[in-house]
Amino acid sequence: MSTDLKQEVETWLAAHWDSENGRAVGSSDYDQKSWLTKVVDAGYAVPSWPEKWYGRGVSPKEARIIEKAFQARGAKGWGRDRFHLGAISIFKLGSEALKTELLYELLTGPICCLLYSEPGAGSDLAGIRTRAVKDGDDFIINGQKVWTSNAVEAEYGMLLTRTDIEAPKHQGITFFIFPMKQDGVDVRPINQITGEDEFNEVFIEDARVPERFIIGTLNQGWKSFQTAIASERLIMGDGITSRLRGAAGKVPTLLALAHKHDKLKDPVMRQEIAQAIAYRQLNTLNMMRAKEEMMKNGASSLASLGKLAMSRIQHGEARLSAKILGPQILLTETEDARNANFDAAKAYMNSIGGGTDQIQKNIIAERVLGLPKSTDVSRNIPFKDIKSG
């Protein structure tokens, strides 16, 4: 059957996708909406989902066959059942009505951003304070979100709100799919220490979202959110391992840099460079082992070490790159110096973003090593009584 499927997809793609020009056959430009509509209609966007919800009802393995055929031709729109967090959340947790109303729209176009973190809720994500208050058939939203990527382009946001301040913090949260393009939503890019501005702050003032846009159940949003981020974690893990595997066998960046700047004769530098390269290679080997374990047992605790390990790797490499460049690192005039300075700042993206190293260590100690869970003093008291400084 899988050969048939492969055949089928390839035939379909040959008929509809112009690989050479990266657009639909017969069109003069790539038009996202019209192309994605074609893919969704053919059942290739979310093949592992049932036909009713625009899929093909095939196994994950078969879904990969479709993805690979798309990738091979550089065709877009594949794997939305793995990567479109908004659509996945609604598919998994939304009501029939919500699916009917939004799923097709989401799959054929709009970007969804993630409205989770708040200035006061970083490591303590369940501490969010953005309020959603019932008003007729709507909820009125007030609050501030932060570290939101794609917030400018997004038409919808996956919004975590506080709907009951009398309940303990995990029990008064509601998860919405939230229309971004309305008054009261103000997106401001964050100027990051790398010089990038991929993230935004989102200020929400008296914005509205219909009650039917709740993902899951009122006040049960924490559970829905856990399901949503589980999908996100899978994506991150995947990203990390494939990027690293890509690097295997190639000349390590740091080695090339040291060679270029003639530092490989210095015995002190040699020791430090060797150790830095080793840390990265060891992580690659760990992730290979994780992959093997996952193949064999369906799970691997090793995978959860990658992000933490990466902090030592990235900060270490950055510090060493500066040492290789010497005083030149102070200038932004060479590409090597710009890269090294950028990488040094960007390393904090790994050690802070998506759960700080400290949070990661808690998780590893508790979930992998089975050490006793820490007590969260704010867990079982009414949200309104939690101290916030």
Partner: protein, 366 residues
């Protein structure tokens, strides 16, 4: 050199601190570093009024007769505010070199002018690569004309004069040039540290005056003094970013409590405190030893050089981590300290080199 009491030192530092709190707070600092010159002339004039530009200049030349202990202490204050004026070149190194000059008629007016805050000095003492161990590229001829290139000159664009280290035959000497001289060309460089202003200087038969009596030995002494001064600057910055971090740990709440109650962060803070105090002790003891011309002055200077540079970088780097997301933004000051710490790793030489020199000094005890 007249006695400068500890009370005098504390008094001037306190005044300096008040001045910077007022005129070099974060808002003002960000304004200044956004300007092309990166230099606040008005503030410099006020520093001069307080005697700070003449801190290391003798009273008979218009200064207030302090020495390296006073400079180290003042630079701790400056470092805390990331004050980035040309203090080390103008008020530490230039007075050291000028006051060694045997031709008083040449040196005295300049010292006077520095003390009055009227003159800004740059030091062109380094090879174009920024490596202080590399051969100087600038050469003087018998007519006191300079040719060649010097790199990594701090605040050259804001200076009116420059002291240039140049080869003359087999020797090295120090020359005074006017920035305005037509034989002098400046190329300002873009830097990652926004508080830093670096230029290359190219000399083409630039007219210069030789500082008679100033040779390799004095260049070495000036570098030693500069290292101690910079160590003080690092210490001030290190302690300030550390204190800001401790404050944040006390005020930032997560999970219903200040994050400073979490043991892992406590332990990071305790470890960092050792680095902060190690740096403080190193810089202050180095200043004291140099001032007393103690036999340990070289050992302690090199110790301070790498300890203060490395610990500043470590503390600033961990400060970002301890702040979390908020310090991943340009708006938060943590990255300003962190970039400044990168500068400190390279401006006068690397920590690895100073560690090696420290050991070489130690080996003399064998």
């Amino acid at each position: 050199m007249p006695d400068f009491s500890i009370e005098d030192r504390q008094a001037i530092c306190k005044t300096f601190e008040r001045l910077l709190a007022d005129k070099c707070d974060e808002t003002r600092l960000r304004e200044v570093i956004e300007t092309e010159s990166g230099f606040d002339k008005a503030l410099w004039a006020q520093m001069a009024e307080l005697g700070l530009t003449g801190l290391m200049i003798a009273p008979e030349q218009g200064g207030i007769g302090g020495f390296i202990e006073e400079a180290e202490a003042a630079l701790e204050v400056a470092g805390a505010y990331l004050y980035n004026g040309p203090y080390i070149s103008t008020c530490v190194m230039a007075p050291m070199l000028l006051s060694t000059c045997t031709d008083e008629t040449l040196a005295a007016p300049h010292l006077q002018s520095i003390a009055e805050g009227k003159s800004i000095f740059a030091i062109a003492g380094c090879a174009p690569s920024g490596d202080w161990t590399a051969e100087l590229n600038v050469t003087a001829n018998a007519k006191n004309e300079l040719s060649g290139e010097a790199g990594f000159v701090v605040h050259a664009r804001n200076a009116d004069h420059c002291l240039v280290y140049a080869n003359i035959g087999e020797d090295v000497a120090v020359y005074l040039v006017k920035m305005a001289d037509e034989g002098v060309t400046l190329t300002p460089h873009k830097t990652d540290d926004l508080t830093l202003r670096l230029s290359s200087m190219i000399f083409k038969n630039a007219l210069a005056q030789k500082l008679e009596g100033v040779g390799a030995k004095h260049i070495q002494t000036a570098l030693q003094i500069a290292l101690v001064a910079q160590a003080g600057e690092h210490v001030g910055a290190t302690r300030r970013i550390f204190n800001l971090t401790i404050e944040y740990l006390n005020t930032r709440f997560q999970f219903g409590q200040p994050i400073g109650r979490f043991q892992a962060l406590k332990h990071m803070a305790a470890d960092l405190l050792i680095e902060v105090e190690n740096a403080s002790s190193a810089a202050r003891h180095a200043a004291r030893a140099v001032a007393a011309q103690a036999p340990t002055s070289n050992v302690l200077t090199y110790l301070a050089a790498f300890t203060c540079a490395d610990n500043f970088r470590t503390v600033a780097a961990e400060a970002i981590q301890l702040h979390g997301g908020i310090a991943y933004t340009m708006e938060h000051p943590a990255h300003l300290y962190w970039r400044r710490a990168q500068t400190g790793q390279w401006l006068f030489g690397s920590s690895d080199r100073f560690r090696d020199l420290y050991l070489s000094q130690m080996e003399k005890t064998l």
